[in-house]
């Protein structure tokens, strides 16, 4: 919402400076987005008179003119190409050094075809006032009295333009008067009385019938439509002051009739429309559209109508969308002599819907969809009639009003104590009362509570909380005393849930393993989602930013693989990235799950990547991913060795070099492995690359009952270690051997570890491998004799043979 300072002062009697006004506007919720002072742009241009104009000796179309730029000073020689430059004319002069906004050039002293030009006489386009560039600006001869004075001062253009970002709840401030009212309420001066309107009610009936045609259900679309006929107008350009103001706020002057409606829209937040009455046929009515109807809008575009849109139509068909845009065919032109002025009320929701469907963003829609003052219908019509008659002459008819304005009296019972209760700001009753009254409320005391009648222009005020808002907004939020929030506990309690603590710990653990945390988009390309088991219709965005971001991700891995690929393209092939975040199995809240996932590529292993004098890092493999998973699971308080490892990781992993970590048959804690070559190909990631995903929600809740740790069981007797090497079929899992060995004597065997795996030489030909384990025996009662140890060793050998068919190596 734009307005100029002088325009504001039409409504506001104030001595406040522009800066004070701007600060106050922002403080009370009318945020100043910019202030543009034309003096900054056009301040250097002055009034000048052409004393003499001669043809340029070297160029036919140029003239050499002598310009009087200041009274009593010798004339300045200027080269000018304008056809209208002639002796005696008064124009606008730019001295050397002036930046000319329309051309983007700063004037320099230089010869034009051999004659030095000491400045410039400018056109309207060069000042960005209009597109006019046929000739230089030619002012009325009496302007010659102002030679040497600033052009903007003489023409009334030295008027700062203030742009306010309006919140959608303030339709009243879509008019300058509403803004003035707020400022006055906030102590920035006094709201001036309404301007006096002449006699506008005519003596004859409006010759054009007006009807509103809706069903009971749709009656709110346009509950009132007022019109007045004006006979014998003489249209033409509106006066300069009006044109200046319209231009200043970004509106293009058209003709007096149109300009008046635009002016009132801006001045009062009250849109209007003027029809060329001679182009109307039959009755003008407001009604809903019919499918298939079309019309040509004022913007020169064709619009299709549907049966939800509110139309203004005559017997020929639609004229325009009510509250949004008028039609081209019935608009006023310079030839217009008889007009119908429309002043109506259109439903905000329907107006917004029509605007959205048609994509039309107009000043009328802007106001109607926020809610135009329903009580402004007849006053608006009168104001428009008055201005039109003043500017264009003509005889107005009696007003014709179809329907009734939806003016409802809103009375709120208000307890002044509510202000302090809700805001902590203690104000005197007189101050609260004064603010509400200056905003247009009427107050009627009734015991402790006051009955507040809300002005019709404030559709946003419904209850006492709204009134509190009005009071503190105007009184000033800076006056609200900062008040400590009482502590609920002495010392702060733990607030994070177990899940939140686990997420935190998993994040720090993965970082501690050298992985770098990334945050990737929650949506991925649909084909990528499909590759990871997602891509369902239900998780597809209807209006994605791009096809690369259309499907809610089923896993964090596609985003991470994309990131790995991008980093490789930037020259970083060794990437260790992780993300901790949500992914989606479906569209219900329970389908969203939390994962900690990571990808390592190239040589990005735990101890570092790349070549190094102390030993180059080798390529990542499945065990790097497994180690990441186990570390996190262990950090979250679960012994990963007590979970089962199965070979059924999902299809995006290498089928032979991947696994799943499970708790029982149903609960999957994690997947890990090398990626399937096809997966890498799809993401254009060069092998090797491994990844993992840990499903944090799958971890069982912690069962800890006490903070106390279990007592330490450290035996006094020395442990005994024995090595065994088994020859096994190659398919036998090391885990099975370890489990069998550990189970051979649970009382004595404390630990089993694998220290060698060999499958070369003769073993390879036989499809065998050798697995060497170290078994730690921990005696608890007495030192083991050789006999005891041999007995356990035999049990281990037997157990392994039974479980795996493995033979002890000779």
């Amino acid at each position: 919402m734009k307005f100029t300072l002088s325009w504001l002062k039409d409504h506001l009697d104030t001595k406040a400076s522009l800066d004070e006004i701007a600060a106050k506007l922002s403080a009370i919720g009318l945020e100043v987005e910019s202030i543009e002072d034309p003096a900054a742009k056009l301040g250097a241009f002055t009034i000048a008179r052409v004393l003499e104009a001669k043809s340029h000796l070297n160029a036919d179309r140029l003239k050499v003119v002598q310009v009087e730029t200041a009274k009593g000073k010798s004339p300045v020689e200027v080269v000018c190409g304008a056809p209208n430059a002639k002796a005696g004319m008064v124009g606008v002069f730019a001295p050397l050094g002036t930046f000319v906004p329309g051309t983007g050039i700063t004037l320099e002293k230089r010869p034009v075809c051999g004659v030095v030009s000491n400045g410039m006489l400018v056109s309207e386009r060069e000042l960005e006032l209009s597109d006019e560039h046929e000739g230089i600006i030619e002012l009325a001869p009496e302007m010659g009295d102002h030679v040497g004075e600033r052009y903007i001062d003489i023409m009334g253009l030295a008027d700062p333009v203030i742009d306010v970002g309006l919140t959608p709840n303030r339709p009243d401030c879509t008019g300058v008067r509403g803004i003035a009212r707020d400022l006055a309420a906030a102590g920035m001066g006094k709201l001036k009385p309404e301007r006096k309107i002449g006699k506008v009610e005519g003596t004859y009936d409006c010759p054009i019938p007006i009807k509103i045609e809706f069903t009971k259900e749709t009656a709110d679309a346009c509950p009132v439509f007022a019109g007045r006929y004006v006979r014998g107008v003489k249209n033409g350009p509106s006066p300069a002051w009006m044109q200046n103001r319209l231009r200043a706020v970004g509106l293009r002057p058209i003709n007096a009739l149109v300009d008046v409606t635009n002016y009132i829209s801006q001045d009062r937040g009250r849109p209007l429309h003027v029809y060329d009455a001679d182009k109307l046929k039959g009755t003008v009515h407001a009604r809903l559209g019919k499918m298939g109807e079309t019309f040509l809008g004022l913007d020169g575009k064709d619009y299709e109508v549907d049966d939800t849109m509110c139309l203004i139509a005559d017997d020929n068909g639609p004229l325009g969308f009510g509250g949004v845009i008028g039609g081209e065919d019935t608009g006023s032109t310079d030839e217009t002599t008889n007009v119908l002025i429309e002043c109506a009320y259109f439903d905000p929701l329907r107006t917004a819907a029509t605007g959205r469907k048609t994509g039309l963003v107009t000043d009328a829609r802007y106001r109607f969809e926020r809610g135009v003052d329903p009580a402004s219908v007849e006053p608006g019509l009168d104001l428009a009639t008055d201005m039109i008659v003043t500017l264009t002459g003509g005889q107005p008819s009696k007003a014709k009003v179809a329907g009734r304005a939806p003016v409802k009296k809103r009375v709120i019972g208000f307890d002044f104590d509510r202000v302090a209760k809700l805001t902590g700001l203690k104000l005197k009753d007189t101050e609260i009362k004064g603010i509400l009254e200056r905003l247009g409320c009427t107050l009627e005391a009734k015991g402790k509570t006051v009955k507040v009648t809300v002005p019709t222009w404030r559709p946003d005020v419904h209850g006492s909380a709204d009134l509190v808002e009005e009071v503190v907004r105007i009184a000033g939020l800076d006056r609200v005393p900062s008040t400590p929030l009482p502590r609920t506990f002495g010392i702060a309690r733990t607030v994070l849930t177990e899940r939140q603590r686990r997420a935190r710990r998993a994040r720090r653990m993965l970082g501690a393993r050298g992985l770098v945390e990334a945050i990737t988009w929650s949506f991925v390309r649909r084909s990528d989602a499909q590759l990871f088991g997602g891509g369902a219709d239900a998780l597809e965005l209807d209006n994605p930013i791009s096809t690369e971001m259309s499907s809610m991700r089923p896993s964090l891995l596609p985003g991470l693989l994309t990131a790995v690929q991008r980093n490789r393209n930037r020259g970083f092939a060794d990437a260790a990235l992780f993300e901790l975040g949500q992914a989606y199995r479906g569209d219900s809240p329970e389908d969203q799950y939390l994962a900690a996932s990571g990808v390592r590529s190239g040589t990005a292993r735990l101890m570092g990547s790349g070549r190094h004098w102390d030993g180059a890092a080798c390529e990542v493999d499945v065990f790097d991913a497994k180690a990441d998973v186990f570390s996190v699971i262990a950090a979250l308080g679960l012994d990963p060795n007590k979970a089962q490892i199965t070979r059924d990781a999902p299809a995006w992993f290498h089928p032979g070099r991947s696994g799943a970590l499970r708790l029982g048959p149903k609960v999957v804690l994690a997947h890990f492995g090398e990626f399937h070559p096809e997966t890498l190909k799809t993401f254009d990631v060069a092998p090797p690359a491994v990844g993992f995903e840990i499903f944090l929600d799958a971890l069982p809740p912690e069962k800890r009952k006490s903070r106390a740790k279990a007592p330490l069981e450290a035996a006094d007797l020395l442990p005994v270690r024995r090595d065994f090497a088994f020859v096994l079929d190659r398919s036998v899992a090391a885990g099975d051997v370890m489990r069998a060995a550990a189970g051979a004597d649970r009382a004595l065997i404390q630990d089993v570890s694998v220290f060698d795996v060999f499958s070369g030489g003769n073993l390879a030909e036989e499809g065998k491998k050798s697995l060497a384990i170290e078994v730690t025996l921990q005696p608890t009662v007495e030192t083991l004799t050789d006999k005891d140890i041999d007995a356990v060793a035999q049990k281990v050998i037997a157990a392994v043979k039974k479980a795996t068919g493995g033979e002890i190596r000779g």
Binding site: I28, G29, E31, T167, P168, N169, R170, A352, A353, K421, L422, T423, G424, L425, A465, V468, V472, L477, D478, V480, S482, T483, L485, R487, T488, F489, A492, V495, L496, Q500, R508, L510, G511, A512, G514, V516, E517, A518, I519, T520, W521, S522, A538, D542, I545, M549, M552, L560, R566, N567, R570, F572, A576, Q582, Y584, D587, M607, G608, H612, D614
Partner: protein, 360 residues
């Protein structure tokens, strides 16, 4: 028989032996001397062997002399050995020289990084936990009802258009889910199941169908909600002041509250902070929107607005990270560029605490 006095022979022997000892140049040499002197067939042992053929008187005197000689020679041997060991060690150390300028790996803890958004989130949790706020969470995929209607944003309200919402495809019944445009639905979900007093923060990803220099289609918000019977706008001001001071780790932050409008709060305000808090004096920076929870929102959640009141505010986590840590470009937050992550990311050891400092 003209035999030399044994004592003078011994003196000569001792002199020779001591000379041999002194002449031993290394540990092997001194060992040779030791064997030649004290070994079974050594020269001192030879003298001992003579004792057998002597008369008792002579034997006693000679034996004592030889023993004394042996003691002195042994001492000299030991002393020389220590010197030679020292020399040998010096020589060995002189030859053992590592190029200590060779680079070493920092190890995984040095390589890993925490994303600035996670870090600032942890910082915020630390601050709000001290004021008794729990952390509430909710789904990204939301209903129209929870994202808009219950927050007092009716259909066709201009605010809805401003939200640039991502929608999912309509379901058979015509309803359509959306991606939450703010974390406010979490406030609704909390109020629907929890009786006041309520103090929560609701952090998380939010989505707007918008992408340009300063907007990304996904970003992070943290919202706070307090509901009880007495919390008012003055408390809101204090909490925001304390939050900003704690987050930016400064003793004082200038703040400016400008009245504004949000459908879900009333009164509402936008808040600017004096940018000297981040080392840029003379500017104001808009950082958040806030207000007292709208009575309609309370009523929509089944809370009596005559009895309960409270405040809510929302702030961009990414924006806070940008302001606090001088990170220029929002879009880079989600580009997973290792150079950016290593530069702007945080060490895992940098766990924010109030006692130890949020960022140190």
């Amino acid at each position: 028989m003209g035999t030399k006095a044994p004592s003078s022979d011994l003196k000569k022997l001792e002199a020779e032996l001591l000379q041999d000892i002194a002449g031993a140049g290394d540990l092997a040499g001194i060992e040779q001397v030791r064997v030649a002197t004290l070994g079974k067939k050594g020269r001192v042992s030879e003298q001992m062997a003579k004792l057998g053929g002597m008369a008792p008187e002579e034997r006693k005197a000679f034996g004592q002399e030889v023993n004394e000689l042996k003691g002195r020679v042994s001492e000299a041997l030991e002393a020389r050995k220590i010197v030679l060991e020292g020399e040998a060690l010096t020589a060995r150390l002189a030859s053992e020289r590592a190029d200590v300028t060779l680079p070493v790996r920092l190890g995984p803890v040095g390589d890993g990084r925490i994303h600035p958004v996670s870090q600032v989130f942890d910082e915020c949790v630390e601050i709000f936990a001290d004021m008794g706020f729990a952390v509430a969470e909710g789904p990204d995929i939301e209903t129209d009802d929870l994202n808009f209607t219950k927050l007092n944003i009716p259909d066709e309200h201009p605010t809805r258009q401003e939200h640039d919402t991502f929608y999912f495809r309509p379901k058979a019944d015509g309803s359509r889910l959306l991606l939450r445009t703010h974390t406010s639905p979490v406030q609704i979900r909390t109020m629907e199941v929890q009786q006041p007093p309520i103090r929560i923060i609701a952090p998380g990803r939010v989505y707007r169908c918008d992408s340009d220099q300063t907007h990304t289609p996904m970003f992070h918000q943290i919202e706070a909600l307090v509901i009880d019977e007495s919390t008012h706008f003055g408390h809101l001001k204090w909490v925001l002041e304390e939050f900003c001071k704690a987050l930016f780790e400064v003793d004082d932050v200038k703040m400016r509250f400008r009245a504004s409008h949000f459908p879900f709060t009333e009164p509402s305000a936008e808040v600017d902070i004096g940018a000297e808090a981040i080392g840029k004096p003379g500017q104001w920076l808009e950082i958040l929107g806030c207000g007292m929870v709208h009575p309609n929102v309370l009523a929509n959640c089944g809370l009596d607005p005559e009895r309960y009141q409270g405040f809510a505010f929302g702030v961009g986590l990414d924006r806070m990270a940008m302001l606090k840590y001088g990170i220029p470009d929002l879009r880079a937050f989600f580009s997973a560029d290792l150079r950016w992550l290593r530069h702007y990311g945080f060490s895992v050891l940098n766990v924010p605490t109030l006692a130890g400092g949020l960022s140190s």
